[in-house]
């Protein structure tokens, strides 16, 4: 793996850590602000994913993340 690839991967990992930290710190508006208009937040269990079944745990658009953040 080249140094360039390693650095790029490191920056992705750092970004994921930052997103997780926003949730841990309950900064939900800041979390939502990281999403583009057409961004999506999808969490699917392996059992459904492996069988091609559509049921997710969370299947939110940016608007639905805004909805959730208003409920907290």
């Amino acid at each position: 793996m080249t140094v360039e690839l390693l650095l790029r991967r490191e920056s992705v990992v750092q970004y994921q850590v930052r997103l997780a930290a926003l949730l841990d710190e309950q900064k939900y508006d800041d979390f939502v602000a990281e999403f583009t208009e057409d961004g999506a937040y999808r969490l699917i269990g392996r059992e459904n994913h492996d069988r091609g079944l559509p049921t997710c745990i969370i299947d939110d658009t940016r608007d639905r993340l805004i909805y959730r953040s208003q409920l907290i």
Binding site: G45, E47, L53, T55, D63, Q70
Partner: protein, 390 residues
């Protein structure tokens, strides 16, 4: 201790309160296994999980591992998933097979549970060993109702359709004969007694009070006195029923309750049906789901939620059913996530040994009331107390 006496009853047998230890005492739980889960009808799966000959899935009846399968002739079988040799769990997961083979010593069983072959059989002396003495124990009664698979350990139970009675008629309205498509599963564990999960699903008093998503919803789902019905049926079955309130055309993703995005219908009924003990059939707007409860000790329960559509429905309807279920009534849903916390709070509170957690809302003597009354809960407990006193 006569467990049934821990329910506070009036002279007509109406249960008005329950002792908090009924949710927490290991002795109560052990008695429930014997008198409820290893005796009468229990939901073990759905036909849609195992449509073809040779299909099987593995699950649990409370503490007991079981195989639910369809044999070569298409007949449903429910077998104890316990090898007759050394007692190992024979198989895990789900799939399609001709035999079930235990990994430990490779004893293999037919789909009917008979011991088919074992390695080095000649090492057993004929005077001490006969293959036909060994098998996977089969549940003596297995029946289906609208695609639901029930099994019973007591061979004397009545046919499942008789056991369900009036509640079965309501299930037929929801599952329409059982031609279903599986859109996925949600499986999760709640740190609470199994009865708290039943009660949560048949109690609407809490709905607009606990759930911020319902409090803040514009129109619909603000359950108030006079709305809908709370039913107590024979054999501990019960149901909440109210008119559809879906408003698909107006749905605003930034402000609206997931349930209000309804594409499958414009009128009709919503139902939350509990079939005693461990079955919950839900049809709220586009949510079509069966919840199967697997108790795991007095203070833990597994939820196996089937997310369903009727066969042949448009793709958009199916997609919406899956989305609404996950967003509203799944583990990360804006209602069921709150419910999990509330159930666990009641379980934590059980250390206080409150003698009377009350079930007094509405008309105590009526079998039907509005949604905010508690005929459902009293019906569940009255049957529970009767079974536990036997």
């Amino acid at each position: 201790m006569v467990i049934g006496e821990l329910c506070g009853r009036d002279e007509r047998g109406n249960v008005l309160s329950v002792d908090h230890q009924l949710y927490a005492d290991p002795k109560v739980y052990e008695a429930e296994l014997e008198k409820i889960f290893h005796a009468g009808w229990v939901l073990v799966g759905l036909e849609v999980e195992i449509p073809n000959p040779g299909d099987y899935t593995t699950t649990w009846v409370a503490d007991l591992p079981v195989i639910v399968c369809r044999d070569e002739g298409g007949k449903l079988r429910v077998l104890e998933n316990v090898c007759a040799h050394r007692g190992a769990m024979v198989i895990r997961g789900s799939g399609n097979r001709k035999v079930f083979t235990c990994i430990y010593h490779q004893w293999s069983y037919t789909l009917q549970g008979e011991l088919k072959a074992l390695p080095m059989e000649e090492g057993y002396h004929a005077e001490r060993f006969s293959k036909s003495d060994y098998r996977l124990r089969a549940f003596p009664r297995v029946e289906t109702f609208c695609g639901l698979i029930f099994a019973a350990s007591d061979p004397r139970v009545p046919p499942v359709a008789d056991y369900l009675g009036t509640a079965g008629d309501e299930v037929k309205e929801v599952l329409k004969g059982g031609a279903l498509e599986l859109l996925g599963m949600q499986r999760y564990t709640v740190g609470a007694n199994w009865k708290l999960f039943v009660e949560n699903t048949i109690d609407t008093y809490h709905a607009p009070l606990l759930h911020r998503a319902i409090q803040t919803n514009r129109g619909g789902y603000n359950f108030v006195p006079g709305m809908g019905r709370s039913h107590k049926f024979p054999n501990g079955h019960n149901m909440l029923k109210w008119a559809l309130t879906g408003r698909a055309k107006e749905f605003d993703p930034r402000t609206d309750l997931p349930l209000t995005r309804c594409l499958s219908r414009t009128e009709g009924w919503n139902r939350s049906i509990n079939l005693f003990p461990n079955t919950l059939v839900l049809n709220f707007e586009d949510v079509l789901s069966v919840r199967r409860l697997v108790p795991k000790g007095p203070d833990k329960v597994e939820m196996h939620a089937y997310v369903l559509a009727h066969k042949g429905e448009p793709e958009a309807v199916k997609a919406n059913r899956a989305w609404v279920m996950a967003s509203q009534l799944g583990i990360a849903g804006v209602a069921s996530l709150d419910d999990k916390i509330a159930m666990e709070l009641v379980q934590q509170g059980a250390a206080g040994r409150l003698k009377k957690t009350i079930l007094l809302r509405g008309d105590i003597d009526a079998d039907v009331g509005d949604l905010t009354e508690e005929q459902t809960l009293r019906g569940f407990w009255e049957h529970w107390a009767g079974v536990m006193e036997k």
